[in-house]
Symmetry: C2
Subunit: 463 residues, 2 copies
């Protein structure tokens, strides 16, 4: 990769994109050089294309000059996937932000990548439909970013992640070619599944310029349960029971003992317990009570201490207040937070939580675990003071220990945030050499010169 | 590819696999040279490996000698995907037929590729679980074949296809390397999704040697509706209504006017109608009546002629008798049948059926359409006498016209059978040159010498 932008490329893309679409001023470059990982790097230019033809032209021009191309949605990613460490051109999809079509009869929507997740949900609401992915940043994050990172959210336990809710893509590969895969149908045995390969590839295989999304009928109402358990093992056994019966919970969130203690110290009204589950049902006036009863029956078992039911919106808000209070409460412990989104088989959640407690003791740092229990996808938050070099070193040692435990438990690194730059160097723990080599071969197939988001997802081959 | 088996390869694999695992006699070769497409070709040898290490050794040896490797399940495919037109070694998974693990708490099973779909379902039944794919050949077909072809079935409308119900794979690529992707978890944002890429690639990218399958809680009971409509448009509007409300049907099958007429001529007790839907709900004693009522409400609308309800098993059997009677009835029309499984957006089903009627008239051949309406996945059966050269030519002209119409309607070639050899030469209608080039690049990445199931799925590049 070149260190600064070749003048010929600057001239070509400036002429192609005009002042609206091509920015090399420092303010624009700075604004497009960071994401929610809080890491930053300066790109050499920012391209803001208006259509897929311009995206293809940008990639072809950058390829000719061996310049990196880094796709960017709203910059809400937490794994530094959108940070242009190799410089080059950041491609912002801020101007490709249209919902192109909503087809209720085919239960799908066709969107450009810059559409905000929340804006799509709003457009779908009057039609009685929704798109399943519901990351906590839904109001700010783009669908292109959701696709690139295979975003999830609490609803994934019933309705699947982003990858499960995409039917087709139009994307620009590293050669500047436009590929079209999948389409407005829900069953496909025609050729290779490039759609789901590109989803979750974090801009390293192709830039998504259009997506056909699978829509679902919107349930009329929700109701919830808040259940406290003696210990994580009791709660995890309940999670397995909840997931084995046909009334799939619409959300199934877990909170560990340290999260509960933190809330209690901060004045949230929750009982002293070893673990908590938030369980949600959805349906209509006829089906919701039945679903809720089935979930309550499954939640009950050895080690259950307390169960609260919330049948309506206000009561639900009270139950979920505990979850919402958690993020602010975390900030009261320490200014620094390493927030990972590891995944283990549901049956290994107790082992993971025990390992987290041991890491917390060993490294003398608070570690708080909570998250999407039905998917075995827990957010593990290592709290520390980044300005204290000793704490910083211990936090990173704890992180190392966390990933080692997760892999040993038969789990994987990330459930919904992606790998980006932040977790790249653990990829050779999650995959053996042959599998990484296959991933590198696929990368080379679609991006032969390695210009798309270089340095992300895949670690460099070991010398 | 070599025309006959190199002696060194024969000696090497014979020594490795022994008489149980290496067959070059004509009977074994003949038995492994055909599938349900009724096309056939003789392999040079049949390998029946006992474990994944042997599979990897077979691929490495064949690669060294430039000999084709064709994976084979039970040979129930209809697209000639398992027919070894290039000769070489057919790899049968008949000895890799063990269910390795069933993990109810993690709602997954780990299986070898040779396990029969029906045998897995039987093993899961006492646990209250099931695996979603339910092709009509479930009692005979292998899970490896289901994975290779991305098999479906009627239940896919609610529970998804094979691709939607696989969590992880171990597979041997064309280099003889063993890759491991995914695992016993339901949320994954860690690296490239090779799992879903290999599913549906019909043995051209890798040989699947182990799979972790997503299991679902088994509903206690089913109930059904049989609904007749004036015409296809009324039925298709009902399909859209059925798919837009939250009580997703467990099956949603369509039959066109010619199918209904055929049944009537053959003495099945169905009214004269332009279209029929079979709609199924599942649930328990509390939820099933609610679901069935919601489906009945959605089925009702302009053009509905008649609606029968079947609440219990015997009544359901009577309703489904019409569907079961169809295949034997088809054989009464003509001895030859080209059975395609095209897909269109649900809203275009009326256009597809109109196009099929026009093709039937134009080519003077009976064409009968029925199938999985909720997925827009219809089985179009062109009936003809293969021994009559004129009819044979007209049947293939009608097939050409069918694929052209499907593509023009924004659909695709295959929903659940796969491409194999049979539909390969239409792939450049379904995909543009850039997308096919990307698929070829992915093929070359995982099978650089092109030894895995050569000539299948992808057409040769145009000179």
């Amino acid at each position: 990769m070149t260190a600064t932008l070749p003048a010929a490329l600057d001239a070509e893309l400036s002429a192609l994109l005009g002042p609206e679409g091509w920015r090399t001023d420092e303010a624009a470059r700075r604004a497009h050089g960071q994401d929610d990982s809080r890491r930053r790097a300066m790109p050499d230019a920012v391209a803001i294309p208006a259509d897929s033809g311009q995206v293809a032209a940008i990639v072809r021009a950058c390829r000719a000059h061996h310049v990196a191309v880094v796709a960017r949605g709203a910059g809400t990613g937490t794994a530094a996937g959108a940070v242009p460490f190799a410089g080059g051109v950041v491609v912002s999809f801020a101007r490709m932000d249209r919902i192109l079509d909503i087809r209720p009869d085919d239960r799908c929507a066709v969107v450009q990548p810059g559409v905000l997740n929340g804006d799509l949900q709003q457009a779908l609401q009057p039609l009685g439909l929704f798109w399943a992915p519901d990351p906590s940043s839904a109001d700010r994050c783009t669908i292109g970013g959701n696709l690139a990172c295979n975003a999830g959210g609490p609803r994934a336990v019933k309705y699947g992640t982003t990858r499960d809710n995409v039917l087709g893509l139009v994307a620009v590969t590293g050669t500047g070619d436009v590929i079209r895969c999948g389409g407005p149908w829900t069953k496909d045995a025609t050729g290779y599944d490039l759609t789901h390969l590109v989803v979750g590839s974090e801009g390293t295989l192709a830039l998504i310029v259009e997506a056909t999304l699978r829509l679902l009928p919107r349930p009329k109402a929700q109701a919830g349960l808040r259940v406290f358990y003696r210990d994580t093992a009791s709660a995890a056994a309940a999670v397995s029971r909840l997931m084995r019966q046909p009334q799939v919970p619409a959300m199934l969130e877990f909170m560990d003992r340290s999260a509960i203690s933190l809330l209690r110290r901060n004045g949230t009204d929750v009982p002293d317990a070893g673990a908590m589950l938030l369980v949600e049902a959805d349906g209509d006036e006829d089906t919701l009570p039945i679903a809720l009863q089935a979930l309550a029956d499954a939640a009950e078992g050895d080690g259950m201490l307390d169960l609260d039911v919330a049948m309506d919106g206000a009561a639900r808000d009270r139950l979920w207040a505990a979850r919402r209070a958690l993020s602010p409460a975390l900030r009261s412990i320490a200014p620094g937070k390493i927030n990972e989104d590891v995944v283990v088989p549901v049956s290994r959640i107790p082992d993971l939580v025990a390992a987290v407690e041991a890491l917390s003791a060993k490294h003398a740092l608070p570690i708080v675990a909570f998250g999407h229990a039905g998917n075995g996808n827990l957010h593990v938050n290592i709290m520390y003071h980044p300005d204290d070099p000793a704490e910083d070193a211990r936090a990173h040692a704890a992180l190392e220990g966390l990933f080692a435990e997760v892999i040993a438990l038969g789990g994987t690194l990330s459930g919904e945030h992606g790998i980006g730059a932040a977790k790249r160097d653990w990829m050779d723990r999650a995959f053996d050499a042959a599998t990484l080599a296959a991933m590198r071969a696929v990368k080379a197939a679609l991006d032969p010169d390695g210009i798309l988001n270089p340095g992300k997802v895949l670690p460099p081959p070991r010398g």
